[in-house]
Symmetry: C2
Subunit: 243 residues, 2 copies
């Protein structure tokens, strides 16, 4: 069993170090992760020089870092480290911050998951609704192991299927099967002045939930102390069930 791990918070983040330890239960692990934070990189790819360094090798894992994006990481993993062979599993995260609702389209963590799904690899993104550098992951850990076991046991995963798993802060009451909540980021750009009087802008703002009463969304699950498990897809075609 060969497992590829990446993230968008960079190698050394608590989330990916935890994921490495958990995934060693299942097989040999190759980590390839950005050399620093790549949050909000979505599925961005790099068209110029990409570099990669091996930083550690043991019997149970190899660790590489790169100046590229999370999506670049998966491509380097498949085509350079594995020589074109696909691993049995790709896991991305544990992201420091929720990738529920519309966050999924901006997320570098989920971007890597989508590249895995494009390549026919079982791919799972794990995130926790806590942006701090030192989130408490102890309650999430056994769920990550169980969800990974369940997905490894699946046969015939169809093209494009992948998984977006988010954990709440604090007490976890269980897992809820969810869908992506409808909503948007609002009031999210602010203007600031440089010392020379020129203007620059910063993104920020707040998430607006279009359907706070719906109890089948990922946002609802996180707000009520449940892990959200959304079966996801890389197919952007509109289907009637979107309505």
């Amino acid at each position: 069993m060969e497992i590829l791990i990446t993230n968008d918070d960079g190698w050394g983040a608590k989330g990916i170090v935890t994921l490495l330890r958990l995934m060693e239960q299942f097989g040999h692990v190759t980590v390839i992760a950005p050399d620093g934070t790549r949050s909000g990189m979505s599925n961005a790819i790099t068209f110029s020089h990409i570099t990669m360094q091996k930083v550690e090798e043991t019997e149970r894992h190899s660790i590489y870092t790169t100046n590229g994006t999370p999506s670049d990481c998966v491509k380097l993993g498949i085509h350079i480290i594995y020589g074109g062979k696909r691993p049995d599993l790709l896991v991305s995260g544990i992201n420091h911050g929720s990738n529920a609702a519309i966050n999924v389209i901006y997320s570098g963590t989920m971007g890597a998951v989508f590249v895995g799904a494009e390549n026919g690899i079982k791919s799972i993104g794990f995130s926790i609704d806590d942006m701090s550098a030192d989130p408490d992951l102890t309650q999430f850990e056994p769920y990550i192991t169980q969800i990974t076991k369940d997905i490894l046991a699946k046969r015939d995963v169809p093209y494009g299927m992948c998984w977006n798993v988010n954990a709440p802060i604090g007490e976890i009451h269980g897992i809820r099967p969810t869908r992506q909540c409808k909503g948007y980021w609002d009031e999210e750009v602010s203007a600031h002045q440089e010392a020379d009087g020129s203007t620059y802008y910063l993104l920020g703002g707040a998430f607006h939930n279009n359907e706070p009463e719906a109890d089948d969304t990922d946002e609802w699950a996180l707000k009520h102390g449940y892990i959200s498990l959304t079966v996801s897809t890389i197919d952007t075609t509109w289907k009637e069930k979107n309505a």
Copy 2:
């Protein structure tokens, strides 16, 4: 009628200049586009200083450029240029290169469209299957006008719906309603040597079509001289019809 235009090839690219001229038929146009190419930027957003300059203003249009990404452009447009008000329409492109099949998840052009859809704006991406700096857009132009008219006439567009329109090179035989073709980029990372002997990597490769016989895909349409019109969504939740 207020129309927001952006792209990922940068202000000054033939595609966006053409789109500006076409959209002036419908109302006042605001262009905000990157100051250079941002291809492959997907939905990437910028967390540090973003700058913006107004480069032109006439009665019929305003033009701004930014150091940001296509997704940043839409956010700056809504929150800074429009002060929070949503425009009636967002169009992105005309991209120099196809955004059919899996290209859609990497595309900065379609990234901007997804941000528009998140914000409840009717949003359309236009692309041509020609990566040259000077593609022949004359046959595509009347279709762009017609498709825009049809979409402007729609009422009650549901949350997340948007449009991905791709034109073939050469003779255009008409429009086909399509879905995103299943496939993946293969053999896509190559290793190269610097003068000092160190290694760097470049993305490249070729698209592998998993379903070349299916006649309802965007890839099929482009290969057979048709414009592909895929109704798209920002909802990444798996639905049974994905199978």
